[in-house]
Symmetry: C2
Subunit: 249 residues, 2 copies
DNA sequence: AAGCATTTGTTCGTATGTATG
DNA sequence: CCATACATACGAACAAATGCT
């Protein structure tokens, strides 16, 4: 009968600390050197424990930076109605938007087609970042038909959220008409904004939202950080909300 | 009045060749050197033409490899019912599956939970590649509850498609209960199977399919090549049952 | 912008205990 | 008892990425 190895007991100790909130998701664990001192073992033995935890996606290491507790991925249900702020609050995080651009300019061919406009019509471009609980989740790029939605720009500046801004200019509700999803590599600028490395996988969503009367009100592109977001589609999308599974054995 | 530049005429010539099928999606264009000889121009002029086409996403260049015609992304509608073979045929490509693994083994904790089994129950594992028109589109990994579906293994070996195999063992229809989507980087083995580079973005889908009586019949993971597939979700999916697509025999 | 300290990642080598045959 | 294989643990040095000044 073999005794259980030291590194396993280190794993259970550390995971216990995480479970009882001593180290929160996103937090940096002590360095390997510190751990090896704390447990009185060689650095390799501490590494072995961390490697095991990394294998099971409990933590992840960044060379030169440290070992971090994996953040539970942000669950983003997409159905007919998708509201970022609602989703964020539902998972207990503070939603936030950071505006990168808010301007009016003539639309290009793709945008014209999606919004059923003639090419060159003025559109409001709203580009920015969506944050949840302080960390950047997605990079969005939305285009609105300016003539159909007078005052939207001021409404967005005032309210921050798209849902409220649209309501303020007379669109009480909007639904997702069509969505196209692909995976893409992060460009250098996106990597900078989302604090990830260039080339890391992004989940790209291209969608058109319609108003209650069926006219398109938004053409939007969103790039979600692949390691931070899971889009969920439920068959009973209207129905019940699943409780998030946060169990860590 | 300036004459139209030479490179533009090269662009129209090449795009004509592509349009009339002389170069198919995914094909490698002649090298810059060959093009410059063929058109009797300097290599930089040919480069200018290729750069313009790359800008408009008609082709893409891979250093050291060549310039390739961009593959038209494979449109993959996901709704309640998702049938790969149907989707492939609808876009005019021959569907094909390549089996990497077909075996029975005890299930792990995740699989047990998804399929409502007790941990360690025997499950049928079906892993392979989905090809459309000869090119690999996705890497799939499916798990079926063996005890509930006796004879499924032979049915899969015989029929090739999951839909037909399930029908053969008494599951006339199945619907997608829940789907979770993320973007991930391709592992070295996946990159090999999908003929892409390691780390390239994949669209990962995790889903559970239910039989008509509501019991789970399949827990499946699929990794779609990001540059070759677009998942589409249309708003009009919830309502009526879609008639089977008979547009292409 | 360049340099420096910090931190993880990798690769040598060494030693020990345990199961196998 | 010996040979072998394997996992565990420790030590030292260097490489590479990161963050800070």
């Amino acid at each position: 009968m073999t005794r259980s190895p030291i590194w396993k007991s280190i794993v259970t100790e550390l995971e216990g600390d995480i479970a009882r909130g001593h180290y929160a998701p996103g937090d940096k664990l002590p360095t390997e050197a510190e751990l090896s001192r704390r447990f009185g073992v060689n650095r390799h033995t501490a590494r072995r424990a961390l490697a095991d935890m990394a294998e099971r996606d409990v933590v992840h290491a960044r060379r030169g930076a440290g070992v971090f507790v994996k953040a539970a991925p942000f669950d983003y249900p997409i159905g007919e109605r998708v509201r970022f702020s609602q989703n964020a609050r539902a998972s207990g995080r503070t939603p936030e938007k950071r505006t990168l651009r808010l301007e009016t300019r003539p639309c290009d061919a793709t945008e014209a087609k999606a919004l059923a406009l003639s090419e060159g019509s003025p559109v409001l471009v709203y580009e920015g970042l969506s944050l949840a609980g302080g960390t950047a989740i997605a990079h969005f790029f939305s285009v609105f038909p300016e003539p159909r939605l007078p005052g939207l720009r001021q409404a967005i500046e005032a309210h921050g959220t798209v849902t409220e801004a649209l309501r303020a200019v007379g669109v009480p509700d909007y639904t997702r008409a069509q969505t196209r999803l692909t995976a893409e590599a992060a460009t250098p600028v996106q990597a900078l904004h989302l604090t990830m490395r260039e080339g890391q996988p992004l989940l790209r969503s291209e969608s058109v939202n319609h108003g209650p009367d069926g006219t398109p009100v938004e053409y939007g592109l969103t790039w979600f950080a692949g390691d931070r977001v899971t889009l969920t589609i439920s068959a009973t999308e209207a129905g019940g909300r699943h409780a998030p599974d946060t169990s860590t054995p």
